[in-house]
Assembly symmetry: D2
Homo-oligomer: 343 residues x 4
Amino acid sequence: MLRVGIYGAAGYAGRELLGILSKHPDTEVAFATSDTHAGKLYADVYPCAMDYRLVASSEAPLEGVDVIFLCTPHGVSAPLAAKALDAGAKCVDLSADLRLKDGAVYAAWYGTHPEPALLGKAVYGLTEIYREQIAEASLVANPGCYPTGVLLALWPLLGAGILADDRIIVDAKSGVSGAGAKPTETTHFVSVHDNLWAYKVGHAHRHVPEIEQELQSYRMLGQPAARALRVVFSPHLLPVSRGILSTIYINVDPSWSEEAIHDLWCQVYAGEPFVQVLDVGRLASLAHVVHTNRCALSIASAGAPGEYVLVAAIDNLVKGASGQAVQNMNIMFGLAETLGLLD
Amino acid sequence: MLRVGIYGAAGYAGRELLGILSKHPDTEVAFATSDTHAGKLYADVYPCAMDYRLVASSEAPLEGVDVIFLCTPHGVSAPLAAKALDAGAKCVDLSADLRLKDGAVYAAWYGTHPEPALLGKAVYGLTEIYREQIAEASLVANPGCYPTGVLLALWPLLGAGILADDRIIVDAKSGVSGAGAKPTETTHFVSVHDNLWAYKVGHAHRHVPEIEQELQSYRMLGQPAARALRVVFSPHLLPVSRGILSTIYINVDPSWSEEAIHDLWCQVYAGEPFVQVLDVGRLASLAHVVHTNRCALSIASAGAPGEYVLVAAIDNLVKGASGQAVQNMNIMFGLAETLGLLD
Amino acid sequence: MLRVGIYGAAGYAGRELLGILSKHPDTEVAFATSDTHAGKLYADVYPCAMDYRLVASSEAPLEGVDVIFLCTPHGVSAPLAAKALDAGAKCVDLSADLRLKDGAVYAAWYGTHPEPALLGKAVYGLTEIYREQIAEASLVANPGCYPTGVLLALWPLLGAGILADDRIIVDAKSGVSGAGAKPTETTHFVSVHDNLWAYKVGHAHRHVPEIEQELQSYRMLGQPAARALRVVFSPHLLPVSRGILSTIYINVDPSWSEEAIHDLWCQVYAGEPFVQVLDVGRLASLAHVVHTNRCALSIASAGAPGEYVLVAAIDNLVKGASGQAVQNMNIMFGLAETLGLLD
Amino acid sequence: MLRVGIYGAAGYAGRELLGILSKHPDTEVAFATSDTHAGKLYADVYPCAMDYRLVASSEAPLEGVDVIFLCTPHGVSAPLAAKALDAGAKCVDLSADLRLKDGAVYAAWYGTHPEPALLGKAVYGLTEIYREQIAEASLVANPGCYPTGVLLALWPLLGAGILADDRIIVDAKSGVSGAGAKPTETTHFVSVHDNLWAYKVGHAHRHVPEIEQELQSYRMLGQPAARALRVVFSPHLLPVSRGILSTIYINVDPSWSEEAIHDLWCQVYAGEPFVQVLDVGRLASLAHVVHTNRCALSIASAGAPGEYVLVAAIDNLVKGASGQAVQNMNIMFGLAETLGLLD
């Protein structure tokens, strides 16, 4: 029975994580923190039946805890990670603090790094790609919600060296839980409902450098001499609570048919419990994946040889956050990867 | 051309009011206040094409203004009403400050009255009932959103003296705009979407004394010796932006059929441009009324002689707030009652 | 490993049931029928990852099946139940065919009974009330979605003999999945979204006789000489996919406080894994129960001694249909009651 | 007072058109047809207060009608247009029958043309671009909903000859009313709600040839030697009732800044009542335009010189259908262009 600690348990990722862990047969929650709601029962914060008692983060009892999950914001997470590692716990950080390898890139997008000693020390927790390193890791940087689906769609193509672009357009659409639980004018029901808007389009969203870091890394495997890949990334806020659909526009060698790319995905992801490659002719939707830890991948022709539209879907709170975090925990502790995660 | 001033223009009622006035042929907006957004263009506060410049309420130029609308909260409105009347303007107050006639009742539900001299001075602005008094009034207390539909449904029955109950159950469901524009945990998209909850049920919502005051007043017309009427009122928050549906359970003299009550409504509301009595067999829905100034009324048998279910629908922002306010303004200034309001 | 057959697997209850069974450790799906989609994979009917192959109901291989679930409409279910029992399988019928004990009542609400020999032979499958009989049963009539929450709220009060009413008002609100998967004008997205309507109000909905049958039965336990109870039932269609909230208006002996009724519920439902009694001061919402097999119960004063508003919430597809069906199956086969059902 | 006839009045475009016309001061409805609902009052088909009596299309009294609107499907519209023109009425066709100039293109996308004699005879009714021809026209082909916003965004850039692409990516998102009023599995509330999917992506949607025809035509003005423009078009179905947001990815001469393109739009659309160019730094949303006849245009950098993301928003039922149809009617009859259309 793993003893698990959760920092930032009253946010949406924390709530989802508690829900997953409550069905996980091999974990028990040692503590769940919330500085805002310290002292309350969980069922007094959200309408649910979970009776965890929230504690202030400063009073979290780290001793004897096997693993901690950081659902805290960037800037707050890395110092907690250092503390947890010192206390002998393994750590999965769901914030952006430890995803970027390059301190200068971190500084450009997020400001001064809160714990420079940990820069580059975490394994990037996109499970399907880094499973072996995750199995050995004490510290995992759980991927961002947007990057997860985009990277799973593109990795096999980059690994095979068939992507012809130096620029990839990603038009992404996310449910509102991705914007966090804090009440703001932009998350007010009346603002979001019956609406759709784009925000931070182009090269402005903080997930851009994360996507580019990883794409470039995969590309180097397939095309060692490659120039830098650039992403044009347009996120949109959808009037749904959860789910991300990413529509990705690519050019590949015209000899690659839809079927060939489909087959490449199937081959790379054979046996993966959480990647669902849809048949050619079907396109991924949010309904394929919400409330599951799966990523659904699909492809269609863009109308000319070598031009394709990829559609990838995940649940931002599960595969895009807490589900993948538990998937990583399972691997870090030698458990069956699907424990607590099958829908 | 009436010169109109609006206090509290950046709330939902204010926004709806500006939208209505921008289509009204005989008004021009003299000022629109918002202390939060003073100095901004309206189109920088909400996604729209209205280019009004918001001013701080303390800098609102009252001179030369014919009428002011108070979209400010209770407690703030009444002193502004006094100020406007002093400046020679007529005034429609959309807050609760001037609806209750009895200072003790106000105190019990809202606390100390901010402008006791105005208590009992305003005409209650339920247009269909008080049209003649409104025509003579300088000060109108616009009804609450929940009371509007409930009172329009019940007034004819009370006037006719056929209601047998001393207690009336009203199960009401409102869209989120009724909760105001302020971001809170309960108005966060993720809280409201896919959800429904009851709140302040029984005898706890501040619209209860307003409904009871009016019902008792109408009842006295039909049944002079009547005992006090009590309302059991259960509001629910719906995952829609606008609209209120009220389901009302009544008992009447068993000699009154559905058709007879339907006919009574039709007779009382003959010629009313904003009351739509549905044929027996049809029930009112939000879709009948949203984005209109209408109230839709309908009736069905509750399964036993004399027992009926009434269903009344309005748009809380239009007939339940800013539309009715303009309807009242039209009457106060001798304009055609439907100006700016026909859908 | 129980071998399970499902008739009507392509409806919403069938889909939910397959989802639950796919997580149930002790079942395997022997067949899943759909006459409309026979021959297709499930993932070609709905966006999901379930790869069951649907078969025509006439070709369902009943031999060797331990239990069948009937997600077929009333009129179709009862003959299939007879066939399944003949083949030696136990049977849980999710339709209305076997819920009403009285053939005359069935005829009045549904027409000629399709399998009169089975009338009165099924145990009514409201698990918390009939658990012992269900354990012995070969044939269970799973309750309707609306009755489930209403009956769980009222049963303890009737059993204790404290309900003073001969008429109970239930104002219920249901998500659209309750209307079935068949596309109609009333289930079109544009009809439902941003809308709310009441339908079949009063004494017109087919769940009325089911509620009355059960209430009367419970009442006889507490108040042997009681007159017939009548329900005034107003269902509304909510713009959500799943969930039912029932607001119930009752009168009890004025000596019973909110706390006393709350305590009665807690006592009656002590140890029940799927009934959540909320603290006084909290009201049930859909968010408490969607995607779970729980029923949440809550109470508030209606403003006068002995008058109360009860609010009960369930997920119509889980506790109101397929979850409770699996709960009953677990009991019928001596399995742990919560298998496959814990959220 | 123009006498107006409407074919196909019970679809969503017809419903919106009737709503607009009911507020138009210079029109009266001569007839409104629906073969499905012939004989019914409009308020018995949709929840509303419009009391038009629907007639079968074969019984529509064309005599004395000044203008007819065809809200009928492609294939049905063109023969009705011929009939109306013969009867001396002007005609606005909201279907696709008369938009494409080239019969071979029509045949490739829609099949045999139902009225070849009218091919190329209609003016394409994108008002801002073809206003002068529309003023002279008897027959106007109202643009498709998706093309309207896309073409208004791109026309000024093509006219100025600054677009560097031969391929333009358009990622579009539409509300469900765009899919029509017919109940289908894909328009069922439960299918759409909480979901998002892409459909007919790439070069498969019937609005592609319409967009390409027009873009190529505008381009020839700015760049006479240009090669054919191709559109990659990915429509998505949003869980909202109305509105289209199109996110468009373009490359222009790097000397053109965001501000320069913004200014070009402002210059081209100066004085246009229904085009709203947002300030640089703001992006168009559905909320800017729903329930209005406006198109909102906005621009952002895609992160490299000359690369931009354009975001265009319209209400598919207003500017994308019935509003623009009335705008065209106003022009065809020499009325003020904004009559009945100002929000």
